[in-house]
């Protein structure tokens, strides 16, 4: 591999100053180094990238065809597609696939809608806007673990603050842990809380790059603020919206920390009611020690992400074409 070979050479330039009198060998050497030296700059990144980024990603597909156990992870026994067939006949796989989907929708849709609204407000001239922007990003700075532990407390069945408030309004307390819908709403709430501010800032950045003249023109045509939002802001934001949808979809597909720490169980609740694919993978690999099967799940998640992103892109392109045609 030439990459690592040049890496060892290290970045050091020719010692001479400027193109002096040409004495053959030195010039050739210098020219060779000139050509090779850029590789020295990318070598540290690419060495790490190959070892800890690309290799594990690709090797996952390979491992998924073997029987590998956690305690003896050096020994691999060929299983062909048995890991996959075992997966597809496991009821809990389908449950976690469904949960991943429903929690994904429950968390992504309100999150992005609220972020869009907040960004619209943040785009006005406001007093203390730096403060508001910073404060709104605060949840993003907390870790999944910390956020989930706090929300798990707030969502407590007997003494949780949220049930207390619900009681004040006059409703019965909700069992946020056992109910399928309730627990999934609770888990989604944590995701929404952490990511809405972040997405709002992304939208705000997108809004600020929409040329001001477009709004002036719309105003001259007598368009109301709402119509300006629909006909100027939204189309201008399309690339940003597509980006956030894709990023959130990817995030939702691999959701893991929130369902793990909501009750601290790796099965995602007593009846797997909020176990996601990420958690299911962790359970198979580090709960039941089946690394091969966990790899198969990872690969299924990868394919799922590729398909979902593809569908997103396709819808986006079709809509863009439709709009251009009208």
């Amino acid at each position: 591999m030439s990459l690592t070979a040049t890496a060892k050479a290290g970045p050091r330039g020719p010692a001479s100053t400027g193109p002096g009198p040409d004495d053959g060998r030195a010039a050739t050497l210098r020219r060779t180094w000139r050509k090779a030296s850029p590789y020295a700059y990318i070598a540290p990144f690419f060495t790490l990238f190959l070892a800890f980024g690309l290799f594990p990603l690709l090797y996952t597909a390979f491992v998924s065809l073997y029987r590998v156990e956690l305690q003896t992870s050096g020994e691999m026994e060929w299983r062909g597609i048995a890991n996959y067939t075992a997966l597809f006949t496991d009821e809990y796989f389908w449950i976690s696939l469904r949960n991943t989907f429903t929690i994904g929708v429950l968390s992504t849709v309100p999150q992005l809608a609220m972020a869009l609204g907040l960004a619209h407000l943040l785009n006005y001239k406001l007093r203390g806007r730096t403060f508001i922007r910073t404060a709104i990003l605060l949840p993003y700075a907390t870790s999944v673990a910390a956020a989930t532990l706090v929300f798990a407390q707030l969502f407590g069945r007997d003494f949780g603050l949220i049930n207390y408030v619900i009681g004040l309004v006059g409703f019965d307390p909700v069992d946020w842990q056992t109910g399928t819908v309730a627990s999934q709403i609770a888990v989604s709430t944590i995701v929404i809380w952490r990511w809405t501010g972040y997405n709002a800032l992304i939208y705000l950045a997108g809004m600020q790059s929409i040329p001001h003249e477009l709004y002036e023109a719309a105003e001259m045509d007598g368009a109301s603020r709402w119509r300006q939002f629909v006909h100027v802001t939204l189309p201008g934001l399309r690339p940003t919206i597509i980006f956030t949808v894709i990023i959130s979809t990817i995030g939702a597909t691999q959701l893991f920390g929130e369902p793990l720490l909501f009750e601290g169980s790796i099965s995602g609740g007593i009846s797997h009611q909020y176990q996601t694919l990420g958690l299911y993978m962790y359970e198979q690999g580090w709960g039941f020690f089946h690394l091969g099967r966990a790899a198969a799940i990872a690969w299924v998640m990868f394919v799922l992400i590729v398909v979902l992103v593809g569908v997103n892109a396709l819808i986006a392109r079709r809509r863009a074409r439709k709009e251009a045609g009208r």
């Binding site: 594990p56 001239k125 706090v150």
Partner: protein, 303 residues
């Protein structure tokens, strides 16, 4: 998770090289001049309240006793037990060691990432070499793929190297940031004029010399933003650390996982641990929040 990703931006290869050096191209309209009405303030105020309340609640719960938390109506003001709960969680969950480990891990990852990404970003932005386009495409192409999908081979690799439960198992994979390379490249494409490099070359400076004396000073603001984002992400990273480490050598997130896993039953102690583990990032955020906001918004429109 996906915090450190930048939007797919239009390839800026079409940007004319004769852009005035040093002058950043102004983006579109510089904000709208419309003033927000009182309703905007009310809604935003409500949003801020929701953003901040869990933090407040953490302080309340961490400063009370477990019995207080099982009261109806719940107490909404901080109590007197904060220090006692801190002491207890430091003793029971080894949060002290976790904080130290997290500091080591996050600082190493930040330094290493910023260095690797600046080197590679510079090469991709300003040096010509064969395979540059292909390698850049490869880097950007994998930016969107969650590293979580590679944890099984990564774990087998770490186990083979006998690194399980050692901090380098978390540090080395943490150094891989395709986003960082992309970010630094975009930064240098925009802020480092080709003429400057050409002039230095005419004066006989080597590439290494150019890197240290010209590129680094110009790249410094970008490096700072990348550093802050990397530190936060590294501090908060959850999935890989809980696999590669255990309670013997925990980072903060690993310790929090232990806390939440039923090891400690006292809710107020759990909240005290959460508070201790979150404080350092909140501190960073309090000091550099503006820059972090700027970094995220910049990352969103860069290119």
């Amino acid at each position: 998770m996906t915090a450190l990703a930048a939007p797919p931006t239009a390839p800026e290869t079409g940007r004319p090289p004769q852009d005035p050096p040093g002058k950043r191209v102004r983006k579109g309209g510089a904000g709208r001049t419309m003033k927000g009405g009182w309703l905007s303030y009310v809604i935003l105020g409500f949003a801020l309240l929701i953003s901040a309340f869990p933090f407040y609640w953490t302080i309340v719960a961490a400063s009370r006793s477990n019995a207080d938390l099982a009261q109806v109506p719940p107490s909404l003001l901080p109590g007197p037990n904060l220090i006692k709960n801190f002491e207890q969680v430091l003793e029971e969950a080894d949060i002290g060691k976790a904080l130290l480990n997290s500091l080591i891990v996050s600082s190493s990852i930040t330094l290493g990432t910023v260095l690797c990404c600046t080197l590679a970003g510079f090469a991709f932005a300003k040096l010509k070499f064969r395979g540059r386009g292909a390698l850049l495409t490869l880097t950007i192409g994998t930016m969107m793929i969650p590293p979580q999908l590679g944890v099984i081979p990564l774990f087998m690799l770490i186990a083979e190297l006998q690194w399980v439960n050692q901090l380098q198992a978390v540090i080395l994979p943490g150094l891989v940031s395709a986003f960082g390379v992309f970010f630094m490249r975009q930064y240098l494409v925009q802020s480092l004029p080709d003429e400057l490099i050409e002039a230095a070359r005419v004066d006989g400076a080597s590439t290494a010399r150019i890197f240290w004396s010209i590129v680094i000073p110009i790249a410094r603001p970008g490096m700072a933003v990348l550093g802050m984002l990397t530190f936060m992400t590294a501090w908060n990273d959850f999935f890989w650390p809980i696999i590669a480490l255990s309670s013997q050598e925990p980072t903060v997130q690993v310790a929090l996982r232990q806390l939440g896993g039923g090891y400690v039953n006292d809710q107020s102690v759990i909240m005290a641990g959460t508070l201790l583990g979150t404080l350092p990032v909140l501190l960073v955020f309090g000091l550099l929040g503006r820059q972090i906001v700027g970094g995220i918004m910049q990352g969103a429109v860069k290119g």
